[in-house]
């Protein structure tokens, strides 16, 4: 599929940051409003689809580096694992930050509350975004064989 015309490109240039901001909002407020790491990450990956559709494969090939994305995905997983091990003295996945942490233990309903939930949301959001973009790019950038 080749790239689209000028109108689509301009609209996409304006829309992609908005979708990104909206996705980040969903990730950051996962413990307060509907949504969370996975939904936000998938929404931002939707911006990736829009980019791919509007600007075409060649532009995507310039901006997409597989090693970077796969390393970021691994980092997201490691952050999730590390946060879940914080309360290891009690049990694996013990929410220590909420019960007796230095921060993230405010009143329920504020942004800095709920213990490790916001950190996990960020980690999962990063992981889902990079992962879905990698999967899509792997399928879209797959070159047809040499005839």
């Amino acid at each position: 599929m080749s790239d689209m015309g000028l109108i689509v490109k301009t609209t996409a240039r304006a829309t992609i940051p908005l979708i990104g901001i909206f996705g980040s909002y969903i990730v950051a407020h996962g413990h307060l409003t509907p949504g969370g790491g996975f939904q936000g990450g998938a929404t931002i990956a939707g911006a990736g689809i829009l980019f791919l559709l509007a600007f075409g494969l060649n532009e995507m090939r310039k901006h997409y580096n597989h090693h970077v994305y796969s390393s970021l995905e691994g980092l997201g997983g490691l952050a999730f694992l590390g946060v879940s091990m914080l309360g290891f003295s009690v049990a694996f996945f013990y929410n220590k930050l909420w019960h007796s942490g230095p921060f993230f233990n405010g009143k329920p309903g504020t942004l800095l509350s709920a213990g490790y939930l916001p950190i996990m949301n960020l980690a999962v959001g990063l992981k889902v975004f990079t992962g879905l973009v990698s999967a899509m790019a792997a399928i879209a950038l797959y070159r047809r064989w040499r005839e």
């Binding site: 509907p34 998938a42 939707g46 879905l132 899509m136 399928i139 797959y142």
Partner: protein
């Protein structure tokens, strides 16, 4: 008509749409149309999830079912072929 009956009626309509688009998904011979019908099914299903008071699932289903799945299947069609062949 009270609120409950209204709610049930809306759900009935949405579910009817879900069934129709699922039927279209499995009967279209044009795979691109089938993919679009599957996206429509996901979108209607996410509305139904919203009606059943599951907003988290609704957001996820809309983002995944109408976005990622359609993109992946459409690119898969682009790499292979578009028409489901007739039975010999």
């Amino acid at each position: 008509m009270n609120v409950l009956g209204m709610d049930a009626l809306i759900q009935f309509g949405i579910l009817f749409g879900v069934l129709i688009s699922a039927y279209l998904t499995i009967t279209f011979r044009d795979l691109l149309s089938a993919a679009i019908a599957s996206a429509a099914m996901s979108l209607l299903l996410s509305m139904e999830f919203y009606m059943l008071h599951a907003p988290d699932v609704a957001i996820a289903e809309a983002a995944v079912g109408a976005g990622i799945v359609t993109a992946v299947v459409v690119y898969g069609i682009a790499k292979t072929e578009r028409w489901e062949r007739e039975a010999p």
